[in-house]
């Protein structure tokens, strides 16, 4: 039986979430390295046919698709039942799940049911090369899963040498989605939810579900003006909004700024927030804690405005201005508008 890489393709409404395509891209690379096939798992309600077929552009050889009104909004037990049953049937080598709210709720439960290993919030995934001396001792096909730990202060590489599937969750924005050179022929297998999910699995109910904001604006922005604790007040945050508007960008915030009430949590960048890589990142009053920089270090050009000349962020920045945010920003806005 040919080896299999599973990718959980999270759905948003009737389409796939961007994380699905990011993971399919990575899954494709791993499948090529392992000589395996890529399988997409799609669970939701009223998914568009175009969304199902879109995975063929990302190299998925097969889709398992389960569609039922009761599956949306997401609750843990039915999804766990479906994914675990498919894993037991197909015995995949690797299983990738997005580290979204849904994935963080679902992946550990599936791993526990399968009594296998799960590595959370991976930033790097590679197949081990046992010919390399540093990787000798690992059997062929072992996945090296690297993730930040100890609050982001160390990078740990984890392996799951014996149990299968090797499960990994990945934060959105870490990998970049990219279509395959040639679309593949994808076999679509539709599953009936009642064949798998017993009545008791529906016992948790979502009484109300309210969207609060769309985070895609920050992910798509080319210019991000981010405020940290050094911004000092919610009032000063308006300066960042003006600068962002002048530069055609969008605002974001660090966890410290959000906890202090300067900005909404939906704007948070960092390990427990969003990962972005805009062309231009302007950090205003951000000290540069590792948990924050992991979410923006791959930006093109980084500018730091901070009253502390020795702030850690300055080691990351291309351009540094030492000064108070509320003094420097008005001048920048002025210069940007002329």
């Amino acid at each position: 039986m040919k080896k299999n890489i599973f990718v959980h393709c999270e759905t948003v409404g009737s389409v796939l979430a961007p994380i699905a395509y990011e993971l399919l891209t990575k899954g494709r690379t791993l499948a090529n390295d392992l000589g395996a096939e890529l399988t997409a798992l799609i669970i939701g309600s009223e998914i568009e046919k175009a969304a199902i077929e879109s995975v063929s552009h990302y190299g998925a050889h097969r889709v398992y698709w389960c569609d039922d009104a009761r599956l949306v909004p997401y609750t843990t037990l039915p999804y766990t039942r479906l994914l675990a049953a498919l894993c037991e049937k197909e015995q995949p080598e690797v299983f990738l799940i997005g580290a979204t709210a849904q994935g963080r709720d679902l992946a550990p439960r599936v791993a526990a049911r399968l009594r296998t290993g799960l590595t959370a919030h991976c930033t790097t995934l590679e197949i081990a090369d046992s010919s390399l001396p540093s990787e000798a001792g690992l059997s062929a096909g072992t996945l090296l899963m690297t993730r930040p730990a100890l609050g982001g202060n160390i990078a740990a590489t984890i392996v799951c040498p014996e149990r299968r599937p090797q499960m990994a969750s990945v934060t959105p924005g870490v990998f970049v989605a990219q279509k395959a050179k040639n679309p593949v022929a994808t076999e679509v297998v539709r599953l009936a939810v009642d064949d798998y999910v017993p009545a008791d699995d529906w016992r948790v109910k979502v009484l109300s579900h309210k969207e609060t904001t769309t985070e895609s604006a920050i992910h798509q922005a080319e210019v991000v003006v981010c405020g940290g604790f050094g911004v000092g007040s919610k009032k000063n945050f308006a300066l960042l909004e003006r600068l962002a508007a002048a530069l055609g960008g969008t605002v974001a915030a660090t966890r410290a700024a959000v906890d202090a009430g300067f900005a909404e949590r939906s704007l948070q960048i960092g390990q427990t927030g969003l990962t972005v890589r805009p062309r231009l990142f302007i950090a205003c009053g951000c000290s540069g804690a590792i948990q924050f920089t992991s979410g923006m270090k791959d930006s093109g050009t980084i500018v730091s405005i901070n009253s502390d000349a020795h702030a850690p962020i300055n080691t990351l920045a291309d351009y540094v201005v030492v000064g108070e945010v509320e003094e420097v920003l008005p001048k920048m806005i002025q210069a940007a508008l002329t």
């Binding site: 799960l118 100890l150 740990a156 590489t157 948790v204 890589r277 920089t293 930006s299 201005v321």
Partner: protein
């Protein structure tokens, strides 16, 4: 409709220590009391999982020893912040229904008793420590297995609270995995418990960009996020009451009061659970029971970049904008 044991109090509500209400309507009118308080028919049994963690937020010493092992001694230890938020939600239920028991459980070395005592000082009823060398070096699955076995041995509660994630592991696995191993329903990223009835709970949660209200029947596990209300501070009465709380092994030492003191105060004994006492399968705990292993660790250090400084006057700022725009137009993000 199920009678409600507890419902989040209205902003204007006053707090009461006991709830024997014979005429709730009259009292509601007189005292502007919450409208939905009923005397509880069955006391609720709640378990809160807590963990003692290194405080990774205040890193001030090199993290790795010369051998490449993480030097945990360089970091002070605290009770995991998300777990304290979980404890607060449990204590709020206890505020409304004082016969509720809030039991604490942690898995760790003997020093983890400090985290348990912190919870007792804040208002928990009792505490238990799961400890032993066989449990060490466990990944999240092995940890969750050990915890779930201990919970079963102690007597399964209707409701388990735990923190969403810990400062050191950051995985957010243990809550979901304990729920799976016990067969409990789960709700994660809970920011508030809205109400509790005889059959289950209604909780508010944040799911990325959405806010949800979710109902889950007992038995269930709630993983509480760090965004939930912070835990109340230590209570002086609880502090005095539990000052000498200790496990049996520590009670025998000379540093604590005499045995008679503890015999008269059974609530001071922190239950100790070992692998022998649980009769647990050794192949499923500790390093042996961990499907994942750490292959290597590296301290993360960003190579300092050469950067260019600008002054604060208008001319310099204009120069910055110019350079910034030019570079940003040509620079692409890495890993594109």
């Amino acid at each position: 409709m199920q009678p409600l044991l507890y419902e989040k109090r209205a902003k204007k509500g006053l707090s009461f220590a006991t709830l024997r209400l014979y005429s709730w309507a009259a009292i509601a009118l007189v005292f502007e009391f919450d409208r939905y308080l009923f005397y509880t028919l069955m006391p609720l049994d709640i378990l809160v999982l807590i963990k003692q963690v290194p405080d990774t937020r205040g890193v001030n010493a090199p993290l790795m020893t010369a051998e490449g092992i993480v030097n945990r001694a360089s970091l002070p230890t605290i009770t995991n912040p998300d777990d304290l938020c979980a404890l607060e939600q449990a204590l709020r239920i206890k505020d409304q229904a004082p016969d509720t028991t809030v039991r604490l459980l942690t898995m760790g070395p003997p020093s983890a008793v400090e985290a348990l005592k912190e919870g007792l000082f804040r208002g928990a009823t009792s505490a238990a420590l799961l400890t032993g060398r066989a449990f060490a070096a466990a990944d999240t699955l092995a940890t969750s297995y050990a915890l779930s076995q201990c919970i079963q041995a102690q007597g399964q509660p209707s409701l388990i609270f735990c923190g969403q994630q810990s400062l050191d592991g950051d995985t957010a696995h243990v809550g979901a995995q304990v729920a799976e191993l016990l067969g409990y329903a789960q709700v994660t990223q809970v920011v508030e418990v809205e109400s509790v009835s005889e059959s289950g709970i209604i909780a508010c949660r944040h799911a990325d960009v959405a806010e949800e209200r979710v109902s889950a029947p007992f038995p269930c596990l709630l993983a509480v996020s760090g965004e939930a209300a912070p835990c109340r501070t230590r209570n002086i009465q609880q502090l005095l009451r539990f000052k000498h709380a200790a496990t049996l092994s520590v009670q025998a030492s000379s540093a604590t009061p005499a045995a008679a003191y503890y015999a008269q105060r059974p609530y001071l004994t922190i239950e100790e659970w070992s692998e022998e006492r649980l009769g647990i399968d050794p192949t499923r705990i500790g390093l042996k029971g961990s499907p994942t292993q750490v292959w290597q660790t590296l301290e993360v250090a960003f190579a300092p970049k050469e950067n260019e400084s600008f002054g604060m006057d208008e001319q310099e700022i204009a120069r910055l904008l110019q350079k910034m725009r030019r570079k940003a137009d040509t620079s692409c993000p890495k890993n594109a």
